[in-house]
Amino acid sequence: MNLLALHRVTKAFGGLVAVNDLSLEVRPGEIFALIGPNGAGKSTTFNLISGLLPPDHGRMLFDGADLTAAKPHERARAGIGRTFQLMQPFHDMTVIENVMVGELFGHTIPKSLDAARRDGEAICALVGLSQLMERQVTELGVADLKRLEIARALATHPRLLLLDEVMAGLTPTEARQAIATIRQIRGQGVAVLLIDHVMSSVRDLAERVAVLNFGSKIAEGSFEDVARNHDVIEAYLGEEAGDAG
C-alpha cells in the first residue's frame, strides 16, 4: 500500500493554477524526488501535503487515512515532517530547544521535557549537530542551519519526510554529507520526498522521480527514464540549455 497518495489535487491562486489535477503516490521507505523548473508548483505541493494550504479539489490519503481536511499539527503527529526552503529557525532558542519543539508537540502521546531533550540530543547526533546543541541559532552557518532544518523535521519522528532544497547552497563535501544523512534516515524506514535543483543529488538518491511543469505532472519514473522523456527535456532541461545559450 502507498504511504502517501495525492488524488487529483488542484490549487489555484486567483487565476494562476499552481498545482493542476496532480496525483502522486509515495511508497513506504522510498526516496522520491519532485523536480521541475521554478514555479512548477513543487513548493505548493509541499504546502498542500503538510497542510499549510488547503486544496481547492482533490483528496490526500496518508497511511490509508483521509487527511484532506487535517490541520498541519495533526499531519505532523500522523507522521508527516518537513523542512523549509528558506531556513526559518526559531531564533530566540538554542539548537536543542529548536529540536525539542518537535519532540514535545509532534507526537500523539506527549513527552516530558527530559525525554524530549534526550531524544532531541539523539537527533542532533544523527545530523551532526552534537557539538552545537547549546548554541543560539543566530551563531550557525548555512550548512548547520540546513542540518537543523532536517533535525527539526525528524524530531516529530515522521514516516514521510519532505525535504525542500536541503542541498542548495552547500559545498560538494557538505552535499555528500547531506546525502549520507538522507540515506541513513531512509535506512530507518522513513520515506523521503524531496525537491532539489541539484541533478546529481537527485540521480544519486532518488529511486523514483516525478517532473512537474506549470502545476501538472508531465513524467514519472526512474531518473534515467524521465531524463530521456521528450517533454521533460523541452520543459526542464531545455530551459537550462536556453540559459546557457
Binding site: L52, R82, D92, M93, E97, M100, G106, A116, R152
Partner: protein, 312 residues
C-alpha cells in the same frame, strides 16, 4: 533575591500604615501596573502584541461594579467574575484575530477596546459617561487592599514562572517566531494562542475589577483608557520582554520614576518622563534586563579564565 523583594513588599504596608500612607499608595499603584505588564507580556510571548488590555481591565471593572451594586454579589466573587468575563471576551476576540499578525492584530485589538468604551458610554445601566460608584474593598483599609493586589501579583508571577518552566514556553516561543513552522512541528497554534489570550485577560480583568473597588469609581474614559493599554506594553518593553522579571522591573521603574519626577520637577514632569521613555526604548532595545545581561557578559569576558561560555 526574590525572597528579599517579597519580604520588603510584605513589611512595607505594616511600616507605611503607621508612618507614610503615601508610599503605600504608590506601591499599590506599582503592583497594579506590574500585574498588567506581566499579563501583557504573557500574551506577547505568543507574538500577539495587544492594544486591548484596557478592554479586559474595563470589562473586569464594570462586571464587578454591576454585580456588587445591583445583584448584591460579594466583592471577592465580583472580582473573580470580572476575570472570568474578561476571559470569555478574550477567547471570542482571540478566535477573531487568529489570522492577524503584528500591526494588524494591534489595530484590531485597539478597535475592540474603543468599541467597548463607546458602547459603555451609550448604555444606561453602565451609568453612561458619568460612570458608576463601586463599594470599597475590605472597608477601605489601605494595607489590606495592598495585601490583595500583592496576592494577585504573586499568582501572576507563579503563572508566568510555570509557563516559562514548562512545555508551554516552547510552544509560545515557536509560535512567536514562526507560526507555520510551529504548526508543521506539531504545535496546535490556535489552541496556544487562545490559551495565552485567556490567561492574559484573566489577570487584566481581575486587576480592573480590583481597581474599581479601590478607587471606588469607574467611568468609560478611565476604564477603557488607551493609557492603560499603552502602559501595559511599555513596561515589558522597558524592563525586558518575554520574561517574568522584565515587566515587573519595567513597571516599578516607570511608576516610581514618574512619581519621583512629579514630586521634584514642578512643571513639565510629563514631558521629561516621555523623553526618558523615548531615550530608553531607542538606545536600550532589550530593556533594563538587556543592559544588565550585557554588563554581566562584559565583566565575564574581562575576567581571564572566568568565562566558560566560549569554550563550551
Amino acid at each position: 533575591m526574590a525572597a528579599v523583594v517579597l519580604l520588603v513588599m510584605i513589611i512595607l504596608p505594616v511600616w507605611a500604615s503607621r508612618a507614610q500612607p503615601y508610599y503605600l499608595q504608590v506601591a499599590l499603584n506599582v503592583l497594579i501596573f506590574a500585574v498588567l505588564a506581566l499579563s501583557w507580556d504573557l500574551l506577547a510571548r505568543t507574538g500577539q502584541l495587544s492594544l486591548a488590555h484596557a478592554a479586559f481591565y474595563g470589562l473586569g471593572g464594570y462586571t464587578t461594579t454591576l454585580l456588587t451594586t445591583r445583584a448584591g454579589v460579594p466583592i471577592a466573587a465580583g472580582i473573580l467574575a470580572g476575570g472570568i468575563v474578561a476571559v470569555v471576551a478574550a477567547i471570542a476576540l482571540g478566535m477573531l484575530t487568529l489570522r492577524l499578525r503584528g500591526i494588524y492584530f494591534a489595530i484590531a485589538t485597539l478597535a475592540f477596546s474603543e468599541t467597548l468604551r463607546v458602547i459603555t458610554k451609550q448604555l444606561r445601566f453602565t451609568g453612561g459617561s458619568a460612570g458608576l460608584v463601586a463599594p470599597p474593598l475590605l472597608g477601605g483599609s489601605l494595607p489590606a487592599q495592598y495585601a490583595v493586589i500583592l496576592g494577585i501579583l504573586l499568582l501572576a508571577v507563579l503563572t508566568s514562572w510555570q509557563v516559562s518552566r514548562s512545555r508551554w514556553r516552547y510552544a509560545f516561543t515557536a509560535i512567536r517566531t514562526n507560526e507555520e513552522v510551529a504548526a508543521v512541528m506539531g504545535v496546535n497554534v490556535v489552541r496556544f494562542k487562545v490559551l495565552a489570550f485567556a490567561i492574559s485577560a484573566f489577570f487584566a480583568g481581575v486587576t480592573g475589577a480590583y481597581y474599581a473597588h479601590v478607587f471606588l469609581f469607574i467611568n468609560p474614559f478611565e476604564a477603557y483608557s488607551l493609557a492603560v493599554s499603552v502602559g501595559a506594553l511599555v513596561a515589558p518593553i522597558f524592563g525586558g520582554l518575554y520574561t517574568t522579571i522584565g515587566p515587573l522591573l519595567g513597571a516599578t521603574a516607570l511608576r516610581v520614576g514618574e512619581e519621583a519626577l512629579r514630586s521634584t520637577v514642578r512643571s513639565g514632569s510629563q514631558i521629561l518622563y516621555g523623553l526618558i521613555l523615548a531615550v530608553v526604548i531607542l538606545y536600550m532595545p532589550r530593556g533594563l534586563l538587556g543592559v544588565w545581561a550585557s554588563m554581566v557578559s562584559r565583566r565575564a569576558r574581562r575576567a581571564p579564565g572566568a568565562s566558560t561560555k566560549g569554550a563550551s
